[in-house]
């Protein structure tokens, strides 16, 4: 790994929002990156440049602007393929975000292939977006949804996967590569290999992993992979669904409309080639082009540098936080098994009270169930606080958080 000191030192100046103050002149300390990240000026400019100079609909007209827009849009597809080591560009489908990507699979693959009595396996640390679509599908089909449990360290109990696979009824195992609450990094390759041996398809929710570590989809060998642009410096409203070509070819369309067709007659339609068969309607062109700038930005820094920076910051934060009175930290202490996401609670103080108090110091952390109520039940809490880091966060940010959290302990006499 290369040293992060040079490339990350002055990075905050690329992010206009990090220059502003909140709550009566407090400099903003943004620690809710697992929810969404801030955008560098390069991304903001790319969107602005598109609307200022190139705006036209894609894949249709023959005039100059339309060609420019189409080219920029399709170049992003190639960039993403390269970024994640994807061999076939036609496997990369633009969607609104991870949630839509997973729903697309549940609808366009699930309704074709899931039958009564089949089992879909997910985990207890999934985001609601990787639970609810499967509840809808299994209920409709008379299939069953099962969960891989989470141990007290926040890691998956993979023995349970083995017993599910033994039933011979599992058709899909779907899980996040990194938990959005605990930061746990799943044993992704091990799970995929087990499933492959059993002839079971795998879907990876990469919403938390792709922004923070190097991901090689070719090497992983899964069948579906979904992630979102806005959690990796890109705009909201853009996500990627990758589907292995041999699987994609067995799927019916998700939405019907323009761009996804080859020929439409009164009562019959033939479909466009992959991936356009799955991209109905005018897509989010400007934000896809903005996403392209975000990938350039991350590539320039290097994903290994980002991962190292976050390991260092998480180590620093965990050490300092563990000394605060009355605090409970969740998740594994093994830094190689977790990302820069720290969930915590204070004795009897509700997370909303904690978040309100630190907000007054200009610090943005998340409090609530983080769209992971199944995991909250498992942890036996109603909610947690969560601080999550990205490339622009520093040890100074952590120090401010610690000072503010000490105030909580003092106010509530912990």
């Amino acid at each position: 790994m290369q040293s992060s000191s040079v490339s990350l030192e002055n990075i905050q100046k690329d992010f206009p929002i990090l220059q502003r103050t909140v709550r009566d002149g407090k400099p903003l300390v943004y620690l809710d990156n697992a929810s969404t990240t801030q955008k560098p000026i390069q991304v903001i400019n790319a969107i602005s440049d598109y609307y200022t100079n190139h705006n036209a609909n894609i894949h249709r007209a023959v005039y100059a602007l339309a060609e420019e827009a189409t080219e920029a849009y399709e170049a992003t597809r190639d960039k993403i393929a390269k970024f994640l080591n994807i061999k076939n560009r036609e496997e990369v489908i633009f969607v609104r975000g991870t949630t839509e990507g997973i729903n697309l699979v549940a609808y366009a693959w699930g309704r074709q292939h899931i039958k009564e009595g089949d089992i879909i396996v997910t985990t207890e640390y999934e985001h609601h977006s990787n639970i609810v679509p499967w509840q809808l599908l299994t209920k409709e089909k008379g299939a069953k949804l099962e969960y891989i449990g989470v141990d007290d360290n926040g890691e998956l109990l993979l023995d349970q996967l083995d017993s599910y696979l033994k039933t011979g009824k599992v058709k899909l195992v779907t899980f996040s590569q990194m938990s959005n609450v605990l930061g746990t990094i799943s044993n992704t390759e091990e799970i995929i290999n087990k499933c492959k041996q059993a002839g079971v398809k795998t879907l990876i929710d990469g919403a938390q992993s792709v922004p923070h570590m190097k991901v090689d989809i070719e090497k992983l060998g899964c069948d579906f992979f979904a992630f979102s642009a806005h959690k990796m410096l890109g705009p909201t409203g853009v996500g990627i669904l990758w589907v292995r070509k041999s699987v994609l070819e067995t799927m019916e369309p998700f939405h019907g409309g323009g761009d996804m067709i080859r020929e439409v007659h009164k009562y019959e339609t033939t479909w466009n080639d992959l991936p356009y068969k799955f991209e109905a309607g005018t897509p989010n062109i400007a934000d896809v082009i903005g996403f392209s700038a975000a990938i350039d930005y991350l590539t320039k820094i290097g994903m290994d540098t980002i991962r190292k920076h976050e390991i260092d910051l998480t180590k620093y934060a965990l050490e300092k936080m563990s000394q605060i009175k009355g605090i409970t930290l969740y998740g594994t202490k093994d830094l190689l098994k977790r990302g820069g996401v720290i969930s915590f609670n204070f004795h009897d103080v509700h997370p909303h009270d904690v978040a309100t108090i630190v907000d007054r110091d200009g610090i943005a952390i998340r409090s609530g169930h983080h769209c992971a109520q199944v995991l909250m039940e498992r942890l036996e809490v109603a909610a947690t606080n969560r601080a999550s880091f990205y490339i622009y966060n520093t040890t100074a940010d952590v120090d401010k958080l610690i000072k503010s959290l000490e105030k909580v302990a003092e106010l509530f006499k912990l």
Partner: protein, 148 residues
């Protein structure tokens, strides 16, 4: 250290919340939740001769929610239904010095008023059940929709 919300009065009220528990065979039992933050409470009441003879609450809530729920239950215990029906948010907030929340914190005001919302929902459901005349029922529904 002083804090505009987390005063000693509020922290103490929440930590030593009154009337927390479960009532056997309540006449009114109403649950409500705040989906944004996960605050979730159940209010239970016994009604004798149009008077709230006993009240208990249970659930999960933040400090503001708990303190306000505690105050609300103390305000209406032993009072008649008309008093409870007309209870204003300002009366609860002023007990805790939280009037400023109405202006300053559109998010946290919901925590403060969850118990009041739950109370009114429970009361109006109870009263609606007792009314057979459908015009009065519609009036009541309209009144209920204008609570805030």
């Amino acid at each position: 250290m002083s804090d505009p919300i987390y005063t000693e009065i509020i922290i103490d009220e929440a930590r030593n919340a009154q009337n927390e528990g479960i009532l056997e065979n309540p006449d009114i039992s109403q649950h409500d939740a705040n989906p944004m933050c996960g605050d979730s409470i159940t209010l239970q009441m016994k009604v004798n001769d149009d008077t709230i003879s006993d009240i208990k609450w249970h659930g999960n809530g933040c400090t503001i929610c708990k303190a306000c729920t505690s105050v609300l239950t103390q305000l209406i215990k032993g009072k008649d239904l008309t008093y409870a029906k007309n209870l204003k948010k300002e009366e609860i907030l002023s007990e805790l010095g939280l009037e400023h929340l109405i202006r300053q914190s559109p998010v946290r005001i919901k925590c403060a008023l969850l118990s009041l919302k739950t109370l009114k929902l429970g009361l109006y459901t109870y009263l609606a059940k007792k009314i057979e005349n459908s015009t009065s029922f519609d009036n009541l529904k309209e009144e209920a929709s204008k609570l805030y």
